[in-house]
Amino acid sequence: MKHKNALVFGYNEYAFEIVKNITSSYKNIHIFKLEENTSVVDKKNTTYEVSSFDLTDNWDEIEEKINIDECVAFCTLEDMAENIFLTISLRDSFKDLSIIALAKDKESATKLKLAGASRVVPLTQTTANVIVEMLEKPIVTEVLHSILYEQSDLQIAQIKVENYHLFKEKYPAEIDWSKEHGIIVVSVVGENDFTEFIYSAKAKHHPIKNGDIFIVVGYEKDIINFEKIIGSRCE
């Protein structure tokens, strides 16, 4: 993992859930509470350092304590105007920082993107999508949920191609991955970071090269074997 530290801005249920889920992935997690929220006292996160910040900060203090190049920031303030301001403020100070921001709706999501967030989670849309998918495609939801979020044998992985010579200028769709390796390649990420469905026209005309990333679904042991054959896990 490239990032060692997580900076979680916001002291609310969203922040606590994020902290709960990313605990195993980061060495250090720093929680920052907006100074106005001093009345909120919660015992849930006493294991992590909780510092305060205000929106006029120029982040010198953080920069002194933490190596920003090794950080990912989560902006979870519930007031969208404040969250957008925080995102702009962070982006202004740290050009390469990965910022994941929560948006209440589509409108805020667009503004957060413009403010420089690397990834935006639109809360309303995400919840609505999950509800609708659960009603219309219950099995798809169950399977994808287990692949994406749960600790199951079936996993999704990004595998980087390092041994392209094994494929002799072949195209990804030409190979029967499931029969040969027990995994399913769903997408290919090529140069210029294009992500294409394996049977799309673009992917069909893209011979396998070193540096391509395959997005694969399969059982853990099959993925490990596949990884050994073609390259390495990319995270």
């Binding site: 979870t76 990965s98 919840t127 029967d176």
Partner: protein, 518 residues
């Protein structure tokens, strides 16, 4: 002895399933607006009414065929008579009155007297017979005695029967009835004006040699024609005094006319929401299947938007402003509290057959628990999904009978984890789920038609259609098989989980369902 026999007969009729079924059928046919065959009956009766009036009009100046007259005077009248008797029958239950009276007497230790229930029976039946609708029905039968020429005009009473069959006329009547006091006041006012002006004009004009008003009837006729602002001009005042009366009547006429118009408009405006609601309730009760969203908010709006692409969605909210917002957003919404059983009764929603699922999407866990519990209290099987706002309410919602919970905050945590772990893979799957770039993940059901051509996974040739087969959900075993072997047997009800271009998925679906493909 005779009294006992009467009570026994009453019990036997009252407990007879066949009798109850027959009476219920006629009740539905004649009175229940939601009965599916009622509209055909209504159309039939409306056609009879119009044909009757057409025959009457034709008869004025032409010779009408005897068979048509027979049809008009006998067939239609007999049909109306049967209808009248059926309505009289279903208007109240004679047997129930007898039984209630006998039980009442037995409880008090009194002797059963037949005249008491008889009195009650006569009272309820007389009450029905003297109702406006029943009188119109009776008058519509009178043309049966067609030999009396005047009675033939009673055919026109058949037109009034339209009130029974045309819903819009019923709505209009109910709107006007809501303002009956105001209309009555107006009628009294107009009557006084007509009376005073008629007397005045008669006194002023009757003795003048050039005046055309010579009788009181002509004076009343002139007053009515003038006050109604029609003014034929066949009778006009010739004296100075008479013209002054005319000015007075004309001004009063304008006031009466404006008042009447404003009364009707106000009555309609006041009842507009109710009329609209009634129309929606009628439409909802006719729907075959729909999702019921309880509580409107940002998530509910998004869910309704997505679901309404393929299904009907009905929104219930107890807050009027939220209902208005939902209607403004283009959805069918009703201002009824989802946490009240009465709402579902009034809306005539059939939970078991009409509702696909209940979605409790209010931003309050308290409201969602209340709604879920209300629904569970009268339906144990319906699928209920709810959003969870606070982790502490999870058990309460589960306890209330919610099948599936969506906790937004937990979802955010999991998404954040995937974002930082495998962002590209996550984005790729997210793109498929959101149907971006024309690629979709779908479930395809294996049915008997597919099975007639394909027996195993190896036979379906998904790759030919550029489709990824992620796995198969075996219905019998309730188990998902990832990347199934070619030899995996297909069974009725199994689901294929496939990823592909939407158009190719359609082609693949057609290919699977085409009989004798292989």
């Amino acid at each position: 002895m005779l009294k006992n026999l009467l009570v026994n007969i009453a019990y036997s009729i009252n407990t007879s399933k066949k009798y109850a079924k027959t009476k219920h059928f006629f009740y539905n046919l004649l009175e229940n607006p939601n009965y599916k065959y009622k509209k055909y009956f209504d159309i039939f009766m409306i056609m009879l009414i119009f044909s009757s009036v057409i025959i009457l009009l034709r008869e004025v100046k032409s010779q009408v065929d005897d068979s048509l007259l027979f049809f008009n005077n006998y067939v239609i009248s007999i049909i109306f008579f049967i209808e009248y008797m059926l309505r009289l029958w279903i208007s109240s239950s004679v047997t129930k009155i007898i039984i209630e009276q006998s039980e009442h007497d037995a409880m008090l230790g009194e002797k059963f007297h037949f005249f008491r229930p008889l009195k009650e029976i006569l009272r309820v039946k007389f009450k029905y017979i003297t109702s406006v609708k029943a009188i119109i029905d009776l008058l519509a039968i009178i043309p049966f005695f067609h030999h009396l020429r005047l009675l033939r005009l009673f055919i026109l009473f058949r037109v009034f029967k339209l009130f029974r069959y045309a819903k819009s006329i019923q709505t209009f009547t109910s709107v006007i009835a809501a303002k009956k006091f105001e209309f009555f006041t107006l009628l009294i006012f107009a009557s006084i004006i007509i009376f005073v002006s008629s007397v005045l004009i008669y006194v002023m004009e009757a003795n003048h040699p050039d005046s055309s008003i010579t009788t009181l009837f002509e004076a009343i006729y002139w007053s009515i024609v003038t006050i109604s602002t029609v003014g034929f001009g066949d009778i006009t005042p010739v004296t100075q005094e008479g013209r002054v009366v005319a000015i007075f009547v004309i001004v009063a006429g304008i006031a009466v006319f404006s008042f009447t118009t404003s009364l009707i408009v106000t009555a309609f405006t006041e009842k507009l929401d109710e009329i609209k609601d009634m129309k929606i309730i009628d439409d909802v009760s006719k729907l075959k299947e729909f999702y019921l969203i309880c509580g409107y908010g940002s998530v509910a709006k998004e869910v309704a938007k997505k679901l309404s692409k393929s299904f009907k969605v009905i929104i219930l909210d107890e807050h009027k402003d939220m209902v208005n917002l939902a209607i403004k957003d283009g959805f069918t919404a009703l201002n009824y509290p989802p946490g009240s059983i009465d709402s579902y009764k009034k809306l005539r929603i059939k939970m078991g057959t009409q509702v696909k699922a209940i979605l409790c999407l209010s931003h309050s866990d308290v409201e969602n628990v209340y709604t879920a519990l209300t629904v569970r209290s009268f339906n144990k099987d319906i699928f209920i999904l709810s959003v969870l706002m606070n982790e502490t309410s999870r058990n309460k919602l589960k306890f209330a009978g919610v099948n599936e919970l969506i906790f937004e905050k937990e979802l955010v945590g999991m998404i954040a984890k995937e974002f930082i772990g495998q962002p590209v893979a996550f984005e790729a799957i997210h793109a498929f789920r959101s149907n971006l770039n024309g690629i979709d993940i779908q479930e395809m059901v294996i049915n008997a038609r597919v099975l007639s051509s394909f027996k195993s996974i190896g036979e379906i040739q998904n790759k030919k259609y550029r489709i990824i087969l992620l796995g198969i959900y075996k219905k019998q075993e309730a188990k998902f098989l990832f990347n199934p072997a070619d030899s995996t047997e297909l069974k009725n009800g199994d689901l294929l989980l496939i990823i592909g271009n939407i158009q190719f998925i359609k082609d693949f679906n057609n290919y699977l369902h085409k009989k004798g493909t292989r």
